[in-house]
């Protein structure tokens, strides 16, 4: 069997007459590049936190995360993962909204909500990763990473 599509009636031809940078192509490339990087970052995140740390999910508490995020290596790992995951996920959601939401007003609201959520979460996550204190002075010492005792 041979499938031939002679003249697909498609609203967005591959060769657009529009001038200027091709943002949809940039997004297409971004999804592939960020996807490959995210596989490394997220598989590393899951393996380290859930498989290679004794106790796995039960070991995750403030002491564990505070200890990790006191290390610039994990700070940058997590921030890069945050930015790429939010942008990759938001762009994917944009594609789905464009596919299924045909009423212009509802589409605008949905796309706006996705954009607002992306900006807020990227700002919140980045700020927290670089400003939080793993050894808050008023906290119960038994809940803190072990290195806080030496301060």
């Amino acid at each position: 069997m041979t499938a031939t599509i002679e003249n697909p009636n498609y609203a967005y031809p591959a060769r657009s007459k529009r001038r200027g940078p091709n943002l949809e192509k940039a997004g297409w490339i971004f999804m592939r590049v960020s996807g490959v990087v995210l596989i490394v970052l997220i598989f590393g995140h899951l393996a380290y936190n859930l498989l290679w740390t004794p106790g796995g999910i039960h070991a995750i508490d403030f002491g564990f995360v505070g200890g990790k995020l006191a290390d610039p290596f994990w700070q940058w790992w997590d921030v890069l993962m945050l930015w790429l995951a939010i942008l990759h996920g938001s762009n994917g959601m944009r594609t789905i909204v464009n596919d299924y939401v045909h009423k212009p007003r509802i589409r605008q609201v949905a796309l706006g909500a996705i954009a607002v959520a992306a900006v807020l979460l990227i700002a919140l996550g980045t700020l927290i990763t670089f400003t939080f204190d793993p050894c808050p002075p008023t906290a119960d010492p038994s809940l803190l990473p072990s290195f806080c005792a030496e301060l």
């Binding site: 069997m1 041979t2 499938a3 031939t4 599509i5 002679e6 003249n7 592939r32 996807g35 490959v36 995210l38 596989i39 997220i42 598989f43 899951l46 859930l50 498989l51 106790g55 796995g56 999910i57 039960h58 995750i60 508490d61 403030f62 002491g63 995360v65 505070g66 995020l69 945050l82 995951a85 939010i86 996920g89 938001s90 994917g92 959601m93 789905i96 959520a117 979460l121 919140l124 996550g125 927290i128 400003t131 939080f132 808050p136 906290a139 119960d140 809940l143 803190l144």
Partner: protein, 145 residues
Amino acid sequence: MSETSSSLTLPDPTPRKTSFSGTLYRGNEGMWSWVLHRITGVAIYFFLLVHVLDTALIRVSPEAYNGVMAAYKNPIMGLGETVLVGAVVLHAMNGLRIILVDVWPWATRNQRLLFWIVMGLVAALMLYFTPTHLINVFSPVEGGH
């Protein structure tokens, strides 16, 4: 991608009759991989929103963060985490298949075979993840908290 003519012709090595006959695309591996990619993508997106917010509680207090993490240690949530990791692994492996299909004509012709290779890789990775995670989930917590 690099095709310049307006009609693209690909031989289909193993035609298959389905109840959706008369369409190019419906009902076979290509459709199901697309459906699964969308469903897993949306599920992971909504978990990601929650996960950034729960992690943000490390900036509030150790008690606040440990309180929300206690929810993730519930056995029912533990089963949900296994499904979530399955969704991530499937989305990741199928994403690699999509990239191959985009850039490599051989992969485009053999996308059906690649779908089953993706399924095999997902099964293998989940066979690695699931026992360790479920043993952790259902182990009694030492120190009693």
